[in-house]
Every structure is written in C-alpha cells, then in structure tokens.
C-alpha cells in the first residue's frame, strides 16, 4: 500500500480501544482508532467534546485516568511498541504533550524557570547551572521577552498565553520528536491564540518536530494542519489531506461540522432588518459609564481581573482598576449590537452593569429614559425594569442552580415577576417556552446534570425570555458549546429576536459569531470602546489598530475559497 518512498511513520496507532468506567458501567471512549503521524508532519484532530480526542492523546502519553482501560490495539512510536497500561521509564522519550489549561498544569508555588530546570535535568545529565542556562534559552525560543527575568516568575504573574509558552518550553525540554497539543489555545484570547499557534507551527518547522494539534475548532485546524482526522463518538470518521476534507468531505458528520463553523466572511443570512430608524428614541442610553474595582491583596473578582489585564512590571502600582472607563453608546429598539474584546477588557463588567447586577461608579444608564443606574443593584430585583432587561449567561451549567429542575429554572422569573402567572396556568406557559427554544417537554423534570450542554443553553435562554424582555444581554452565550450546537443556538437566538422584537446586546470574543448575529459592533479594550460601527465596515475596514489585530487573528480558514469554488462548480 505505502509506496517505498514514504517515510517510516513516527507514530502509529492501530485499532486502539479505550473504555472508561462510569456510573453507567464501562463506556467506550475510543473505538478502533487507527492513524499515523509522519516525522515533521502537523496532524489536526478535530471533534466535539467527548469525541475521544483527548483520551487518545492520553493513551499515547501513557497517562490515562485510573478509571480507563485499554481494550486492545497498539501504539508504536519510532518503531517501538509503547506500553499501553502506563508509563515505563524511558518508554516515551521523545514524546511531549501540552494541555488546555496551562495555568493549572504548572505548579503554582514554584517559578516557571525552576520547573523548566526540573524537566531539563530529568532528561539529560546537566548541572543546575547548565540547566538554568538552557532554560533561559528555551524561554527565549518560545518568544518570551526578557527570558532571564521571567525565569523567576510564578505562574500567577504570567498571562494565560505566557503560561502556555512556558508549558511549551517545558515540553521542548525533552527534545520531543512529537508534540501533542491538546486544545492549546482554548480559553485564550483570539490574538493570543494566533500567537500561540504561530509559535507551535514555527517550532515544528525549526526542529523538524511532528505535531498533533487537537482542537474543536475546525477553522483553526484547517489553517495550520496538512492532514486532518475528524473524530466522533470515539471513532475517526474521516482522515485525509486538509484540502481534500474541506473540498469533498465524505462523511455527513464532517459536512455538518464544516457547515456549522462560523466564518467571518459568510453571508449573514440570519440577520434581518437593517439599521433601525434613527428617529426612534433609544431603548437604552449609556452615558459616560465608569466602574472601578478597588484592588485588594486577596481573592475576589477584582483580583481576578487584575491578574488578567495587568502587564508585568507595573502591576503593583495600580490599586484602583477602572474596568469600564467612560463608555457611552445607545441601543435602538430591535437592534442587535455586538461587543467584542479580550478577557479583561471589561466587556463582562459592562454587561453586568447594564443588567444591573452591579452598581456603576459614575455615569448614567437610561432605560426608556429612566436612569436605572441610580437604582442600587440590591433593590433591582423589585424594580420595574427587572422584567424588561434579562440576560443569557456564558456558562449554561454554572448559571443553573444544580438543585432546581429545568421546569423550576424557567418558571422562576414568572413566579417572581410575572403577572402572567395569574392569568394562565404556569405549566402551560413553561411548556410553551420550552417548545419555543426547542427543548423537549420530557426534559423539563430533569436536573441540570442530566442535561447536555446544548439543552442547558436552551433552558438558560427560555428562562431569559420567559418575561418577554425588551432588552436581552447575551454574555458569550455560545462560548462553552460545541461548534454544531453553537450554530443551532445562534439560529435560535436570531429566530427569537425576530419573533419578539427584542434588542440584543451580544458580548463575545468571537468576531465570526458576532458577525452572524449583529448589525452593529463595538470593540472594547482596557475598559474603553475603541471602535464602533456597522459590523461589515468594522470587519472589512477596521480603523483602530487593535481592531485590525483582532480581525487578523480570526483563523483565516484557508479553505474558504476552496469551499466557495466547490459550491460554484
């Protein structure tokens, strides 16, 4: 089959099966997976959560969780068969992995340089001094500025992107011939994401290192990988050259994945109604809004924000953080406005201010002319605007009370605030809402942990629209969902907005998603709105340098033209 010229594969997985013990017995996490990676190749593994991508990676590294059992199959690395039940000394020399959450993978109480020295000395007989020199060198190679200074930084002093760079440096310490990157950029800001993936690709080329990039983001994978493996339900459903997969996906699953990937240049068919009539008085007028956080040494929201936005060096001088800085804008009735920015830019704080979960430090929030910013947040529950302004939260799991059923979650705002309750039986209203958001009535009696991510998102949306609010604030409503579910939820949101003539304030870090839903977009950075305008204009001809950076960082799906060509033919 293989031509003689083809190089010996570096990694060969054959018929690998892994089962994981769960409460419902043994669940097959990986089923008969076979693929190989050639030296120097970059292979992408794409799939939704639970598709078995990470378990496959863990099996290769020999670090499966205790509950997992390898059923059968073999893994060969550089011609040697690997022990499948666990690591043996020297067994996996030349293999390295980096994980999704770099901050959690680093030891929080040791400087990163020290951790790097440990890794270096574990793999080669270096003196402490030699190892320190190599460590600084490696930190430089992963493009960390002032590596000698960063050597002594603790993980909490570094940004998420910097932590991931440090992790990559540790992975490089063993001079790997194959690096597995398991969702290396998930949870990082778009611009950081781009930098990290650029770094991985550059390092792979410099060192002739093969790389397996595991991601749920098809656009990202297709841009960087020469070959793609698509996984679903523990199987590799399709594996081929990237170009081929994008041009002629054989499997229906791959097709649905491609279709669901939001693209920054697609025809935004879900958006309806153009710019609203400018004469209508604004539904919401935000005037010179500010919100400060006093920074304290320990805990709390402020400290977290501080960790994210501070740049090393000037950290200790700040003691008041202006999370939202003199922000002014209007929302017209029926309009959909997007707010994009990185984590720590203040966009979630702005959303919390508008729904009046927190109090502004200065400025006004006028809703239908009334200054609702003057009503203290702790009295907001009984204020008249409470019914009119609702919110869909970022994390559907965390935003549902784990001890309330889906029915109770949806019914709660009606019970508390709805005059509807007296006019009509509550059960009827809740069932109608469930139907509207596409939630099967049978699921209403379930608790959140018995629902899937998409179902929980639907419960969250049903709860938010239960009172027919006129303004719906959506804080990254799809960020934690798989890409196909994300597409469905975005369509649902567009449908609901048209049906109830709601105004959407859509907070997201994902320009492609914003483009799909919003006519107008505002770009936020360090608490300020740096650019705003019609979505088309901002995305195609950004003015502000930061916006340009953001737009450039969208995975440019090299396949776009291909797909368009294919469909044109």
């Amino acid at each position: 089959m293989n031509s003689i010229a083809a190089p010996q594969p570096l990694l060969e997985i054959e018929e690998l099966s892994v089962k994981i013990a769960s409460r419902r017995g043994m669940v097959a996490a990986v089923r008969d997976v076979s693929f190989s990676v050639a030296p120097g190749e970059i292979l992408g593994i794409v799939g939704e959560s639970g598709s078995g991508k990470s378990v496959t990676a863990l099996a290769v590294m020999g670090i499966l969780p205790a509950a997992a059992r390898v059923g059968h199959g073999s893994i060969r690395f550089a011609g040697r068969a690997l022990n499948l039940t666990g690591r043996r000394r020297g067994d996996r020399e030349g293999l390295a992995i980096i994980f999704q959450n770099p901050r959690a993978a680093l030891d929080p109480i040791r400087p990163v340089g020290r951790q790097l020295v440990d890794a270096l000395r574990a793999h080669s007989p270096l003196s402490a001094r030699q190892a320190a020199v190599s460590a600084v060198e490696l930190l430089g190679q992963v493009r960390i500025h002032e590596p000698a200074r960063r050597f002594w930084s603790y993980p909490f002093e570094l940004s998420g992107g910097m932590c991931q760079r440090a992790m990559i440096a540790i992975a490089l310490a063993c001079k790997p011939r194959l690096l597995i990157a398991d969702e290396p950029t998930t949870g990082l800001d778009v611009t950081t994401q781009k930098a990290i993936v650029d770094l991985l690709v550059a390092l792979a080329a410099e060192r002739g290192m093969a790389t397996v990039l595991i991601t749920h983001d098809l656009a990202l994978a297709s841009e960087r990988c020469s070959r793609l493996a698509v996984m679903q339900g523990g199987r590799v459903v399709e594996i081929a050259e990237t170009v081929e997969i994008l041009r002629q996906p054989r499997e229906p699953y791959t097709r649905s994945l491609i279709a669901a990937t939001p693209r920054a240049d697609e025809d935004t068919t879900t958006r309806t109604g153009g710019a609203p009539a400018a004469v209508a008085p604004p539904l919401l007028a935000v005037e010179s809004l500010c919100r400060d956080y006093r920074l304290r040494a320990a805990g709390g929201m402020a400290a977290r924000a501080w960790g994210q936005i501070s740049r090393p060096g000037n950290v200790r001088e700040i003691d008041i953080l202006r999370a939202v800085d003199n922000v002014t804008f209007d929302l017209s009735p029926g309009e959909s406005v997007g707010l994009v920015g990185e984590s720590g830019s203040g966009k979630s704080t702005l959303a919390a201010l508008i729904v009046r979960l927190i109090d502004p430090t200065a400025g006004r929030i006028r809703f239908r002319g009334e200054d609702i910013g003057a009503i203290p947040a702790r009295h907001a529950a009984r204020a008249a605007f409470r019914r009119e302004i609702q919110m869909v939260f970022q994390d559907p799991s965390a935003s549902l009370n784990s001890r309330h059923t889906a029915f109770d979650a949806i019914a709660e705002p009606i019970r508390r605030l709805g005059p509807l309750a007296r006019a009509r039986p509550l059960a009827g209203v809740v069932h109608e809402l469930a139907e509207m958001v596409g939630l099967a009535a049978a699921l209403l009696s379930r608790l959140p942990h018995q629902l899937s991510g998409g179902e929980k998102a639907r419960v969250g949306i049903a709860r938010a629209i239960a009172l027919r609010p006129s303004l719906l604030v959506l804080d990254e409503p799809t960020a934690s969902l798989d890409v196909r579910v994300q597409a469905v939820i975005l369509d649902l949101l567009a449908k609901l907005r048209d049906e109830f003539a709601m105004t959407y304030f859509f907070v997201s870090h994902d320009l492609a998603v914003v483009r799909r839903v919003c006519e107008r977009v505002m770009v936020m950075r360090s608490g300020q709105i740096v650019e705003s305008g019609m979505t088309e204009k901002v995305l195609t001809a950004p003015d502000h340098p930061y916006t340009k950076e953001l737009v450039a960082a969208i995975p440019r799906a090299a396949h776009r033209e291909l797909i368009q060509n294919a469909s044109a033919r």
Partner: protein
Amino acid sequence: MDLARSVRSARLPPGSGSLILVAVLALTGVIAPWIAPYDPLATNVAEALQPPSVAHWFGTDAVGRDLFSRVLVATRLDLSIAVVAVALSFVVGATAGTISGYLGGWIDAAIGRVTDTIMAFPLFVLAMGIVAAAGNTVANIIYATAVINIPTYVRVARAEVLVRREAPFVQAARLAGNGPARVLAFHLFPNVAAPLIVQASLNMGYAILNAAGLSFIGLGVRPPAPEWGIMVADGAAYIISGEWWVWLFPGLALTGAVLAFNVAGDGLRDFFDPQRRS
C-alpha cells in the same frame, strides 16, 4: 467480568455500614426502656459488683444495678443531648455563616469576631464554664455543647457561600427577581447544605464526648440517671481493685457511638462529593 462489575457496582453507597450502625444506635435510644432486662435505677446491694454473667451480661455496679440495662437506657440521654445540641448549633451557625458570607461588610465582621472569641477558649473549658455558671441541668449541657460547636458551622457555611456568592446561578436568580433573602434561602443554602450536613455528622461524635466528659467531671447529668460519662466516672474508682466491667462497658458504648458518627460523616462526605460518586 462485566457481570461481576455490575454486581459490585450495585453495592450500597459508601459509608452505609456506619449509617446502619447509627440507625441501630438511634433505635436503641428509642426502645431501650422496653428492652432493658432490669430497671436501670433499681439497686440490689446483695448483688453488688458482680462480674458479667448470664443474668447480668455486663455485670453490676457498686449498688447492684444491672450495667447492661444502664448502658442501654443511657443511649437515649446521651444521643438526645448530642442531637439537640448539634441541631441547635447547625441552625444558628449555618444561618449566621450564610448571612455573614453573603452580606459581608460590618455584619460579617461582627459575626466573625464573635466566633473568634468563642474559638479563643479551649472549647471544653468553655463548656465547663458555661455549665458551671448557668447550673447543672440537661438543658444547660445542651446549650454549652451547642455554643462551642457554632463556630465550625459559621465558618464552613461562610466559606461555602463566599465561593458561590458571585456564581452565575446566583446572578441568574437575582435577575429572576429574587431579593437577598430569597437568594440565600432558596438558591445558596441548598447548595451549601451538603458540607454542613457532613460537618453535623462528624460533630455528633464530638458532642457525645463533650456531654459525657462534662458528666464525667461532675458538671453534667446528675446521678443516679444512667449516662455513659457518669458510669465511666463511677467505674474509675474500681480500676485498681480489678472490677473492670464497671467502666469498660459504658466506655465501649461511648467509643462505639463516637466512632459510628465519625465514620458515617466520612461516608456522607464521599456521598456528597460528585468526584467520588462517578
């Protein structure tokens, strides 16, 4: 293999053994007066200090009372004191802790200082002081035991609430029109109850020891009422002279009860911990 696994996975949840033991203890407490072979207060000087026999399983004490009956009947008093004391400290401590964590500010500071003050004393000495000052009654033993346990609940509840105070589900509850009181009672409290219940179970053992300890030094239940602490104190006089059964059996009952509640607490902790359940 799958069959064997499914049989094993159908086992009772972890800690059931100790929970069964706790249930037996509670049942004994309820029915002891009816199953006890003798009147626990009836003296019979003719049969004083008899070693264990068929007629008197645990032997008899200095005034000829049947120790088995006394140990059985004492279960009721010891458990009642512990249950009521723990319930009191749970209610007061959890309420104060939840409010303290949620509202913060001066309320939090005030509650924090009160608990700090209580914790500043050696707890048993504090309990002794309370009983000595307020009078030697069963009610006062209960209050003393409750007071010294309150800080634990305050701290556990406060810490758990602090973690969840800004959680999205709490924010969602506020948006749904819940004022602070409703958020606390219907959203936060049910989510912090599990660690508190575990704490309560672990505390039961401590409360039993505390009540028995007070009685042992003469500050608790008064003779001749059957109570494990007094019985051990009575038996202490006979350790040297060799009548070992007088102190051994009430001591074993005490140890067994404390152990059962502690193990049950560990079991409950595993039961409530989702990591350990899957």
